[in-house]
């Protein structure tokens, strides 16, 4: 490995470790949440150095973007300080951690070297995906072809997990619709923030659409696009008011759309079965297997993006509608 790559790796990983130590030691939860955002951004940089650009994109959008926002909304409900704990003895946990760490490091001594081409993980399905993806699926971005076509079942599981998280949040918290006028007082206008947000939001939404449909050719896809779209609406909510955002996109529409996204994904699988193939076998969706694969990937990515966007927006609405414990 050349010297400069090694230097970049060492610097990034050291900053990651320092951030982790700070996250563990700092008492103010607000600072801890900001530091987890920094952690996600550093991890995204490390993924870029490792040439995994799709993963870096998703990590930056989800970890450094929406996860920070949702956790900040959470501490607006719960409170800013860590609960004080009794001081326990630190010897027993230290021994447990040291033994576990030593066993783990001993286990990694047996692993093949980093980027060794003859490692077992590169021998089974990976060569087939890399060799056959241009002829079987035919889209330039191999990550999307593996994610959406070869591993379509796993991605369906991911979308269903996101939807299940939505169901959990809605059944535990629910969205409290605030009172409308005349009891509701319109918040004071904030001209700079509102004007700049109005300027930026259309471009953010446009970028989300671009990421959604460009996932076949470059880094992108449904998950990142859904998160970026949700972030645009969250920006609108933060600079205007929750009333305006919920009037713009009512929660009942979002709930239906989230379910429709999962339905689109599963429905594609059922349509493939009705056309004679297996579940989620896109070859039968059109006259020509390659076109079938393209249609299948496009449709399921759209379903993924729809569900993720609606889930993020609904979870944000659910958190902030609970009111402020620490105004």
């Amino acid at each position: 490995m050349s010297n400069i790559t090694l230097l970049i790796d060492v610097v990034l990983l050291t900053m990651l470790v320092l951030t982790t130590v700070a996250i563990v030691r700092i008492q103010s939860l607000f600072a801890v949440i900001m530091l987890t955002g920094v952690f996600s951004l550093l991890a995204a940089n490390i993924f870029v150095v490792l040439d995994a650009v799709d993963v870096a994109f998703t990590e930056a959008a989800v970890g450094a973007g929406i996860s920070t926002v949702l956790m900040l909304a959470t501490i607006a409900i719960t409170g800013h300080e860590k609960k004080k704990r009794r001081k326990n003895s630190w010897i027993a946990p230290l021994i447990v951690v040291a033994i576990t760490g030593a066993v783990l490091i001993y286990g990694t001594l047996d692993m093949p070297a980093f980027t060794d081409p003859s490692a077992p993980v590169h021998q089974h399905v990976a060569p087939r995906y890399i060799n056959d993806s241009p002829t079987e699926v035919g889209i330039p971005n191999m990550v999307t072809s593996v994610l959406a076509s070869y591993r379509g079942y796993d991605t369906m599981g991911e979308v269903i997990v996101v939807f299940a998280a939505l169901i959990g949040v809605l059944s535990l918290l629910g969205i409290r619709e605030k009172k409308s006028e005349p009891q509701y007082i319109t918040p004071a206008p904030r001209p700079i923030l509102q004007v700049m947000s109005k300027f930026m939001i259309p471009f953010i939404i446009l970028f989300a659409m671009y990421v959604q449909f460009h996932g076949d050719f470059g880094p992108g896809g449904g998950f990142q696009a859904g998160v970026i779209f949700a972030v645009a609406i969250i920006l609108y909510t933060l600079t205007f008011s929750q009333q305006d955002a919920m009037r713009l996109i009512p929660p009942w529409v979002l709930k239906r759309l989230a379910a429709i996204g999962v339905l689109i994904y599963g429905g594609t699988g059922v349509v493939s079965m009705l056309k004679g193939g297996n579940f989620l076998n896109y070859n039968v969706l059109a006259d020509d297997p390659i076109h079938g694969q393209h249609y299948g990937i496009l449709i399921i990515e759209f379903g993924v993006g729809l569900t993720v966007a609606c889930v993020m927006m609904l979870i944000f609405f659910a958190f902030i509608s609970r009111g402020d414990k620490n105004p």
């Binding site: 904030r190 700079i192 923030l193 700049m196 300027f199 930026m200 105004p327």
Partner: protein, 112 residues
Amino acid sequence: MGLIIDILSWILLMIGCFLGISGAIGIFRFKEFYSRVHAASVTDTLFVFFIMAGLILQSGFTLVSVKLIFAVGLLWLTSPLASHALVRSAYETGLKPKLSITRKESAKRGQS
């Protein structure tokens, strides 16, 4: 020609790094919240331009330079906005700046 571009991009990158480091030092050394935010936001917005200019010189007349120009434009729009949002929320929740003399006193003395 290549040498001139290299030297110029070195100078721009060095200026950018100096601004970044001085902004980071300012966050630690200033005693008051508003001064710290001022140090962070001004240097943050400016050093992006210098580093991107150095990188644009390095990558020449390609699509990458156009993307870098867009990135600089986006950061120039959003970075001051974020600092404004931060300072505004601090002011609205009660944190007032520590001035050496109050406003009334300053008006009495005839300053603006």
